[in-house]
Amino acid sequence: MNLSKSLASLLLTLGLCVSLRAESVLRFCIRSEPRTLHPLLVDDDASETIRYLTGGVLVRLNRKTQECEPALASSWRVAANGRQIDFVLRQRVRFSDGSPFGPPDVAYTIQQLMSPELHSPTADSFRTGPGDVHTEQTGPDSIRVTFPQPVAGLAALFDQVPMMSSRSPMKEKAVLGPYIIEDRKAGSFILLHRNPNYWERDASGHQLPHIDTIRLEIQQSRDSEALRMRRGDIDFVSNLDPDLFDHLVAEKKSDLTVNDLGASLDSELIWFNQTSTSHLPASKRAWFTDANFRRAVSIAIDRDEICRIVYRGHATPAAGPVSPSNHAWYNSHLDAQKSSIEVAKKLLASGGFREADGKLLDRSGNPVEFSLISNSGNRNHERMLAIIQQDLQKLGIHLNVVTLDFASLIERITRTYDYEACLMSLTNVGIDPNEQMNVWLSSAGNHQWNPNQKTPATPWEARIDQLMTQQAAASNPAVRKKLFDEVQMIVQEQHPFIYLVHPDVLAAYSKKVHNVNPALLRPQLYWNVDKQEITE
């Protein structure tokens, strides 16, 4: 009798414990409402976050090692010089609604992705030439995807392609990722709940993810986000402003880990308008198309000072388009420009510029003066503009600083070309140079200094076109690296973009979240979310 009573009370206690176990909730902010929840139409950061947390992919790029790892595909093999990839899929994998996953779903996803009617931005990376993409089921759990032209870095591109169900009535709402969307309130939050059918298990055989719920707060302001972090309302902040970062460090909060992860993949850069269709005076166009002038401006700018004053030491002077954090593609032979007014003056003198009454005059006696536009409301840019203005003053160049709202700025640099020079941030999501094809090709719209050229305006742009095309078609990583190294060399010689700094990734996270393994690649803090745990 006593035994049965004890057993009953034990069971009751256990039951109570189970029912009282609080749901673990991870909280962090996204900047805006996601524009779309369709995984193949993602083209903004908020939608990208949802896609990362809910989508299951064949291959996952490990953000820490920057290497591809098996996900829904247990193995893969790239063949035919990068035109073909064979996947072997995991068995007994189910979508969140219970429908099975197999080769037909991969074929369906590829077909949807490459459909011209869908206009998927993700598909752009796979389109290297005309022709159709073919899929062929090669076994009960294997599938072959064949592209019309070689695709460089093919396997890593599948990190961006969440698989969709060909059979589920829920269409793209049936997912294979660790979380599913449970609830959302417009402009306020999005609630994700763990996917009961998620395929991955931890070493001890427990189904992942460990965290039950993720609450994504929609928060535009970085200051408000930092305030919430201080109060413990959220668990992650991955892109802190240097000022706020130093405040958090100084506060020495016991429940927070604050980390400077090192140089990000992003760059701050300046370029001069070299567009032939712009209404620039001939004298100014002559300065801007003169490589010596661009080089002199680059050498005059004190990058160390920008790192020290603007970023409070949380930035790295930039040597070129690739950040030193991009281990695979960084050209280690390049060094960041050291500021030297003397060298800059010599360069200008060799180009026929001279100084008179503290003003720099060109060969025709025109005083050298130009305006530099940037986006308003960006504190770092405003401070950087002041430093650049001061540095160029030492050469006798009068710099007018103009800040515009982002839409007006983009209108000027992409449509009207009504500007002289521009300071902007370049955000790099991926590490592969193929993701920058539309920056480097002279015919591309994002070739900012002189876009949409019918034929390359200069021999060095023609050479960059050639190198970029060759590296995109090459399958050997060493060959690709060599070709892209030369691109970086040309960019440093010609300075079409004057790279200034790579800001550091400044992150803070709550100590109650375990297994956080911060990385430099996005998403820096939650890339291994399925393995993270929360203890209150």
């Binding site: 417009a186 983009i410 209108e411 992409t414 015919s443 994002n446």
Partner: protein, 300 residues
């Protein structure tokens, strides 16, 4: 011969029709004007996704095409009005959703914020203006005046940030924005009423202080107070834009901010119309209730 004054019900009918016509006209003109301002502002039709280096030229062209709605302003206006006639409010190109859905999801938040804020401001201003007018405490009068002045001087966005810092609901900021207007106007009206002959006579007859205040001072001021209320509704709605932006409240104010910064023509057009309708309806309701309450005298 004697000219007969119109009856109260006829007068009321005239005022209602006049107010409705005013609202319809203002909504129409406001919508067109708002859309014109957005259409011809710098940065119209621009999408920051165009700057994504991963996109191909064809993909950028698709984005440009999707943002080209309104490039021909006359065509846009015609299409928009035709859609409205069929109950469609257009599509937000930046938020990628029907405008009607966006408004529906957020209207309750803003309306509640305005109602709570205004209720708080009305109660606070009436009580404080009344106590000041009754000359119960000089210190109270001075403090009320100081609070009103400070609230008037502080930028609305700062009030929003204060709410965020103090972890209080945004309606407190709405109340702080509208309180000075209500307080000052009510206090002035009561002060003026205090010098009127009927109040002096009532005081001489020994009418109690409370009765003197409510029946002889406050009641005759109701038409003017109603007119002020219609004014503060528009102030309250205007203030929700920076407040909701600062406090990250998912209401119409935040939506208006986003629409303006991204030049979202359809969304801006609808929000302008909505604001015009709200402000003029508030003033119309005040006008109609004044006529209903005071008849011919109220209409003057």
């Amino acid at each position: 011969m004697r000219i007969q004054a119109p009856s109260r019900s006829r007068l009321l009918r005239i005022v209602v029709i006049r107010q409705c016509a005013k609202v319809v006209l203002a909504v129409f003109l406001g919508g067109i004007a708002g859309a014109a301002l957005a259409r011809y502002s710098a940065g119209f039709g621009i999408d920051e996704r165009e700057m994504d280096a991963r996109r191909s030229s064809a993909s950028i062209e698709t984005i440009r095409h999707s943002r080209s709605e309104g490039a021909d302003f006359a065509v846009f206006c015609f299409g928009f009005l035709r859609g409205m006639a069929h109950g469609e409010l257009g599509y937000s190109t930046t938020l990628n959703r029907p405008v009607a859905d966006l408004i529906r999801e957020r209207i309750a938040v803003t309306v509640a914020e305005i109602c709570e804020g205004l209720a708080l401001a009305i109660v606070a201003s009436s009580v404080l203006a009344g106590l000041t007018a009754m000359r119960i405490s000089r210190v109270l009068g001075a403090v009320s005046e100081l609070v009103a002045s400070v609230s008037l001087c502080v930028p609305v966005a700062i009030l929003g940030y204060l709410c965020l810092l103090l972890r209080v609901a945004p309606f407190w900021a709405v109340a702080a924005c509208t309180f000075p207007h209500l307080f000052r106007y009510t206090a002035n009206l009561l002060d003026l009423a205090d010098r009127k002959n009927h109040v002096i006579a009532a005081r001489a007859r020994g009418v109690s202080r409370f009765r003197l205040h409510t029946m002889h001072r406050l009641l005759p001021c109701v038409p003017e107070l109603l007119a002020t209320l219609s004014l503060v509704v528009s102030i309250a709605f205007g203030s929700t834009i920076p407040i909701e932006f600062a406090t990250e409240t998912p209401g119409l104010g935040q939506l208006a901010w986003q629409a303006a910064s991204s030049r979202d023509l359809a969304l801006l057009c609808v929000l302008t119309m909505f604001t015009a309708a709200l402000v003029l309806s508030a003033s119309g309701v005040a006008e109609v209730s004044r006529v209903w309450y005071f008849g011919e005298r109220g209409a003057e």
